[in-house]
Amino acid sequence: MIKVSETENIVHQSQVETDSHGSKFYRWFKPFSRGIGMYSWLAQRLTGLLLIMYVFIHFGIIGTMLLDTFLGFETPGLLYNSITAAMGSSLVAGMGFPEVVESMLRFSYIIDAGLIAALVYHGYNGIRVVLFDLGIGIRKQKQIFWILLILGIISYILAMYLIMIVPEIVLAGE
């Protein structure tokens, strides 16, 4: 016969190992009883981590401004200028696309499109979180999310429009 204390042990061990819903942070991605509040937080986290990666890459690239000098070349900044110029050149140059498409399909624009989307989302949702921390609008969190998302989309379109179009106008005008 098994002593009572022993059965307790058996039950406890298997309980811990086979919690019937999987364990730990995999549950973040399991869709049950969720609202927009949960997804907005998850997206806040993902965009935050993406932005961290971007910042480190960004620091690497702006660091090349000094590389020429450290390597002993005469013209400072040439390397940095060529890297950014290469990133800003069209990915489909000479492939017979219309000029507009060619100018929009640049590596730097594609990076910017993703980066600014992440940044705008994270920033606006960050403002939403700060509002709740000040005690404002906690019971209207879903409405506030959608309002800020619409504002974010408008800002995003405006930002991308300015990035893609405005320098072009300036160049065309010269």
Partner: protein, 247 residues
């Protein structure tokens, strides 16, 4: 309320698991005739009585006050005794135990971590009882209004089960205990506010909350633990960062 006895045959899918004998949880399917008075709890009782006596389920009051029957019904947190099956408008009704608690058997989970966290915030009025009046300690309605909603919690543990921070950090106090902490910290009759705020001020206290609102989504009593936690965060930060007036 319609008095016509509408009956429908519904399918119940119940997640079964007995950790002593089973390696993995599995699903059992049952058919049951339900009318517009059948609650999820009544349905389970009928299944136990007429079809399968081995299903385990916990309940007490059958009236939404004891908090022992919280379940995941079709992926939503609900009290089995308060949920009418026909109002779910589904042919198949999926019943699961509360996620993130260890399963004892079938729909019964081990909620000790929830209760232990509750005890850790001292869930009772603390004051110098020697100065208490002979009769009850009075409170004006405005003061009670601050904590009125929080006093309605029935300790069903649904919020704790739904919380993203509880899932990863087992030491996190969780929305249930923190709602209780809010209820006593902001009770004007309580005299232990400073110590109470200290209790929730830590990386595993209020600041582990990420305002994902899962607890609000989960609470079958439609309370708002997030709002309570946010208030505690502000009160705790105010007290902690005022180092010049710390005793």
């Amino acid at each position: 309320m319609s008095s016509t006895k509408e009956t429908k045959t519904l399918t119940f899918k119940i997640k079964r698991f007995n950790p002593v004998v089973d390696d993995e949880p599995y699903w059992d399917t049952y058919e049951l005739d339900c009318d517009d008075g059948t609650t999820v709890l009544i349905a389970i009782q009928e299944l136990i009585a007429k079809q399968d006596g081995s299903i385990a389920m916990r309940y007490n009051c059958r009236a939404g006050v004891c908090g022992s029957c919280a379940l995941l019904v079709n992926n939503k947190y609900m009290l089995a005794c308060e949920t009418l099956v026909l109002q779910l408008n589904k042919k198949v009704i999926k019943l699961e135990p509360l996620p993130s608690y260890p399963v004892i058997k079938d729909l019964v989970v081990d909620m000790s971590q929830f209760y232990e966290k509750l005890l850790a915030i001292d869930p009772y009025l603390k004051r110098d009882h020697s100065k208490d009046p002979e009769t009850e300690i009075l409170q004006i309605p405005e003061d009670f209004h601050i904590i009125e909603e929080a006093t309605k919690c029935i300790l069903c543990g649904a919020c704790h089960s739904s919380c993203v921070s509880v899932w990863t950090d087992t030491n996190y106090l969780g929305p249930g205990a923190l709602l209780k902490a809010f209820r006593f910290t902001n009770d004007t009759r309580d005299e232990d506010r400073r110590e109470r705020l200290k209790r929730v001020t830590s990386e595993d206290g209020v600041y582990r909350c990420h305002t994902a609102f899962n607890c609000v989504e989960a609470c079958p009593k439609e309370l708002n633990p997030t709002e309570a936690i946010q208030t505690l965060k502000r009160q705790s930060a105010k007290q902690t960062l005022k180092f010049w007036s710390r005793s």
